[in-house]
Symmetry: D2
Subunit: 185 residues, 4 copies
């Protein structure tokens, strides 16, 4: 199985990039026969959606590349920040562009959502809102999600989760999700 993993933030030192990396490493270790593709959200640049721009130029190159990555994957893991209690505009904007592709790469695609946040709540409010546009596009969002609170103290110098209990909880969840995704393949 091919699994696409990314953190939905453009910032280089993003906590969500780090959390996504931890998830990718658990998958790669447990399923060496899988292709776990860890990508950077910032490698798929796209402008803010504008219907006139779309009519003129079609799908932006970055959006097209992300559509292709999603289409190739049998399962997807995204770690997303919470901005103002909801999905980041940057991630929703990517979804809006993706939805304009000729073929919908998210239809029936198994998707696991994670979140890391510097606050005490770990981004759980946002996670529930983030499900909606993905489900509206047909993704099968795994019921269980994962919120990492106090993310600024959560990673060591190698971007690994410091707390072994948190690490074990993440590992258990991503392996469980991998089994779920395999059934739907």
């Amino acid at each position: 199985m091919r699994i696409l993993v990314f953190g939905a933030a453009h910032r280089k030192g993003s906590f969500n990039r780090k959390l996504a990396l931890n998830a990718a490493e658990h998958l790669a270790k447990a399923f060496p026969e899988d292709t776990v593709e860890f990508v950077h959200f910032s490698d798929f640049p796209m402008p803010v959606y504008d219907g006139d721009l779309e009519e003129k130029d079609g799908l932006p190159k970055g959006a097209g590349a992300l559509v292709e990555k999603l289409a190739q994957a049998g399962a997807v893991v995204i770690s997303t920040p919470e901005y103002n209690g909801g999905i980041p505009g940057a991630l929703k904007n990517a979804i809006d562009w993706i939805s304009r592709a000729d073929d919908n790469p998210l239809d029936k695609k198994p998707l696991l959502l994670l979140a890391a946040s510097p606050g005490a709540l770990g981004g759980v409010r946002s996670l529930w809102h983030t499900r909606v546009p993905f489900e509206a596009l047909g993704a099968v969002v795994y019921p269980t999600m994962f919120g990492l609170p106090k993310a600024s103290e959560a990673f060591d110098a190698n971007d690994k989760l410091v707390d072994p209990k948190m690490g074990a909880r993440l590992e258990k969840l991503v392996l469980e999700f991998r089994g779920f995704a395999a059934k739907l393949a």
Copy 2:
């Protein structure tokens, strides 16, 4: 009272720009002493939010200009499309940038949400999701909202609502909202 009105879409022929214009005209006619400021969303260009970009360059010029317009206004009316069952990434991205300003221009600000959509549901799903980030930033979102279905047939050549009942319903709502906003001033 100063009232800021805009449609949250960049497309020049946007139905939401037209619906916002109808709302602005009802306000201007009924309250000639008010300053009803109808602006174009595309006059406030801003990139997709990126924490590194913010650290380097601060608030983008377009975001800063929108913050100023919001801060000057005593009430705000926004008409927003529905993309993939929720708030457009473009609007959420603007909110995310606005939330990074030194002073929050949305705190306790009366806000009326409208939606126009080519479909049969008039964007009502999106409206409920769109309330959330505005309320998270302290805006007082008016309980009643307005969804215009089948928007591609709803306007005449002068961008006026064709159906007089729909027009009367919009007029009643915006004037009601104006009274509400005046109490909170």
Copy 3:
């Protein structure tokens, strides 16, 4: 496979009971080897949740019986009304009692949500809110849902959907869902 089907309203002439019945009949016809169990929500009476009552008497008999039916089923189809823009208190109350059972019968259970409503929107706002508590309990809610607008004119004297297109759309969706549920079994 055993599939539990019900309409989440107590009213005898409930549109949602009728819509659920149509779904059950499509399943029974297409999968004669399945056990399609169509039940009445009112056969599972339970009081409004009260922690003191629970401590005194445990799970009410009706709640226990619904937990058992859910546990036996490999998949579940629920058609639910929309009350005040959201999940009916009656259905949420049943979920709250179910969540107090020793074993969670909803964990990883495939669930299809339908809605019938006398209004023009077919209960679509409610459907998105109704997903949340089911997903919080681990149910795998099928991404696609089904809203039946103008339900008071939608059924004939035998409780069949009058509009053949609507019937075909429902049939397609429930069979698709049956295939999905089989993969997760």
Copy 4:
């Protein structure tokens, strides 16, 4: 001003009843000329909503009494538990009955939502879902809300909040809300 305050749980020792009581006491102390009416949710018993029952017997006595209390109040404060990530069925059921009254007592009514929860998140997920049916009925839900985490350790023997910072935060919010409600009166 007359302010109705209650905790939306039937359990006698309910944390939300205690939190509501703390809010009521802050209001009564700061606004001695107000009538702060602290009531018990369990004094308004009502069955699970059933359309047939309504047709036969009309509004249940408990629902009618709650409608009257809401109608008399110029502002309302409710503290609500979180059940399964959302609004308790018991509270939603009360809203569903209230919405069947001849006159809607919630229209344009200022409402402050609080939550107490034994968990780490303080019921914040639920609060956002709880706004929706109230706003659908026209209530002006105050943008800021209040979540009390770890509620089982939060109150002393006299049901007062132990942590003075938490108490001060609650006091500030309810007084702010009282000023807001006065403007809308």
